[in-house]
Symmetry: C2
Subunit: 530 residues, 2 copies
Amino acid sequence: MSSSPHVPYAGTRESNGVIQALLTDLYQITMAYAYWKSGKMNDKAVFDLYFRRNPFKGEFTLFAGLEECVKLLQNFSFSRSDVEYLKKVMPPTVENEFFQYLSEMTANEVTLWAVDEGTVVFPKVPLLIVEGPLAVVQLLETPLLNLINYASLVATNAMRFRIAAGPGKTLLEFGLRRAQGPDGGLSASRYCYMGGFDGTSNVLAGKMFGIPVRGTHAHAFVTSYNDLSEVKTRVLKRKDNSEEVDFVDLCLKWQKKLSAVMSFLTDQVSEGELVAFISYAQAFPDALLALIDTYDVIRSGLPNFCTVAMALYELGYQAKGVRLDSGDLAYLSFEVRKSWKLVAQKFDVPWFEKLTIVASNDINEDTIHSLNTQGHDIDSFGIGTHLVTCQKQPALGCVFKLVEVNGRPTMKLSEDVEKITIPGRKRAYRLYGHDGTALVDLLVQESKRAYVSPATIELLHQQYWKCGKVMRDLPNLEALRTRALHSMQTIRQDHKRALNPTPYKVSVSANLYTFIHDLWLQNAPIGELS
Amino acid sequence: MSSSPHVPYAGTRESNGVIQALLTDLYQITMAYAYWKSGKMNDKAVFDLYFRRNPFKGEFTLFAGLEECVKLLQNFSFSRSDVEYLKKVMPPTVENEFFQYLSEMTANEVTLWAVDEGTVVFPKVPLLIVEGPLAVVQLLETPLLNLINYASLVATNAMRFRIAAGPGKTLLEFGLRRAQGPDGGLSASRYCYMGGFDGTSNVLAGKMFGIPVRGTHAHAFVTSYNDLSEVKTRVLKRKDNSEEVDFVDLCLKWQKKLSAVMSFLTDQVSEGELVAFISYAQAFPDALLALIDTYDVIRSGLPNFCTVAMALYELGYQAKGVRLDSGDLAYLSFEVRKSWKLVAQKFDVPWFEKLTIVASNDINEDTIHSLNTQGHDIDSFGIGTHLVTCQKQPALGCVFKLVEVNGRPTMKLSEDVEKITIPGRKRAYRLYGHDGTALVDLLVQESKRAYVSPATIELLHQQYWKCGKVMRDLPNLEALRTRALHSMQTIRQDHKRALNPTPYKVSVSANLYTFIHDLWLQNAPIGELS
């Protein structure tokens, strides 16, 4: 009564959470064998990992996923069962010594240079520069790309939502159920927080990364209640002492009072919904945030919320607010706020009009821009599908290109001009203006190291891994989030706007340009270029 | 020198590969507490999991992810550290007995009815019907949705590529590097195979699920070689005996012969590329599949491939073919085949014109349709980004709706008519015509069980889990793939076509229809409906 996978299915990660070396493309293994067979496996190779275009028709990208890459290097090895599996799928002509070589492989001879995680980055500038034995670095290609591509994509997406919403709004990631698999959901929560979100609904992400977790109740909670007979215990204690009060009676009293003020009919509100809010309030008297669109926001959900909120207040508790999950969010948010103001004035409870309105109906970046244009009174957005699956563009096209072997720069010409690579080992500098604004990224050949004045010029690449050691602190998620928000502030507004943003300039130094041109001529079939 | 997550990061899965119970939304936990607090946690609830629209503007969906759901139920529990974490994030007023209740929770009182995995399914028909204690089933919502949503989406996407390419083409999934996280990549490989693909590049997926793995070499392999001096050993043994031959000389001899026949200039081909193919051939003499677009397909890549392939043949080996990863794939595939025919005739090697052409340049479903229209000579497609991230639509909107509590049907009205749920416990039947074609799915109230003649009517829901036991075989991936291809054959062609497909009919029985209408009237605020 069970399926029969070839091995116990333990997912993509080792017990320490690091992804397995075998999570790679078969051609990395076949190439490793060909390198080994022709004695090239220890050739000193340099690979650049970079992307060619910013995602989402934007002009910036937030770099994320580095910590997972460093941990991959730290843990990189093939288990005995991995090697046994490879023996089965590789042709029988493959020599046994190769499998021995694989089983002893580590990333200890690899050096990793990288942009700091949480930095805003641009096309063509390498995010990672990976140096080391050709066969080993080649094997790292797939897992490194996998770890950087989605992390950077979803962090960038989150930052775009942050920019759209503005700094004052609360942004919550609610995407787990629609994410691309369980780990996709966990990664989304992690990197959306890095990209400037304030919290997640994902409890495991909260536990693992210390991200604030948020959530109250669903429509099912409301529809599961039918009438007042279902209230198990009618009482609630006052906050300041232990006196028990008949909370249901108190709510019904407030329902009557409010119906006059808010002009709703007590026989039009859903009784099941009222009971659901009462039950929730009894469980979380200090945290009532009610989902009010199960039946009818204006005629039922909002009156029921105000009823229970005012009853709570009489016992010394303060409700949090409401969530809207359908309908015209701009209109409904104004209506809700209008009613709250009325109640605030009528009963002299000024805090009541400041309650929170959360909106969460399939919201994307454009929805937020459109809401901003129309005007709205929403305080917080709960964002799921569009955020975590990056619906606008679900993949970032990072590539991993060989740029040097044994000191010889290499270059791929390709049928597509866009796919031509920039050869040679290089470093990138970011030049800042006097006001701290990033002006340009400059790619230079490593040998031509310029004299740099550190106040205005920043070396983008830092050494993160060398000789089997982590060479630099890996900040925690909170620190990366702060860095990301700060890095975004150094980027000029016109690069960040949603509509027709200005491209940020990435320059290739004059020397490097000449060098690329020469190498092109040398590699191109005769007559192709002149 | 390391980050400090709150707990050791072990990913979303337990050591047995099953996802953790804590991979859920916080509101499931807060609702569970409110249910517990009001004594409703053991109310007998029925939830339907279904989707409202087929993905990709199509009219069918392939159901996948069931095995992972059954295993979730089998393993469902909160660990001590989970409960400790929840104590920290829940308000201090939450009673300790609730945490005790959580720590003892299992899914043993839950019953799961489901459509068989690998079946073609349609909107509104429940894929899962989950019955059991309200609080437990509520907690299952998020992980069940997460497991079904992406699995079914990517399996459907794979099936659409299969339909586009036709049964005769080889389809390979190459998406790991662009997938949404490591686990996203693994799930993609698994469910694309179920959806009719023939293999994957993902080695871990091969090891775990027995999927055939494929792959040869990348551009980096080609650019890592420069000239003939790099060949470590010039020899290759003949296949039929152990005689060693100077393989480099043999290749140069064939280069000369072929240059006349194929009209290429020997000083225009890239020497580095030739050496790369020679090295690859020495490592895999029976499996040369060369990537020929690193420099120039016609002037360099194709001549170099033919050179090495004919040299191999002289020693008794047969090459496999080429891969094209850029340029005009239709045109290039014709050019390649034309050259191969020439070689086949000239040297009397008929197999040579039947070699394989693999194409792999950012291919999507539309590319394949367009190639079919233009005509092409490609045998095999390697498909990455568009397949695994489902670029056309990266999320399937499955929902999980409460339809009954303690025998009372429930219904959500919502501000959006589309979001209205179908109340009550139901079952679905699929009616087939005499030729075995599916005609209609019929949703009926469970109590009105019709007399069914099994030759033409199929009950879609089977009991998969009850009283803590798996009630039905979970077939292996190979069997699910066969079932999926068979299930697709029962669906009429016009439902499957890419352009303007006909919607398949899902009917609600007359009794159920009347019942929904009555319940609506009963729940709607007075005056709303009549």
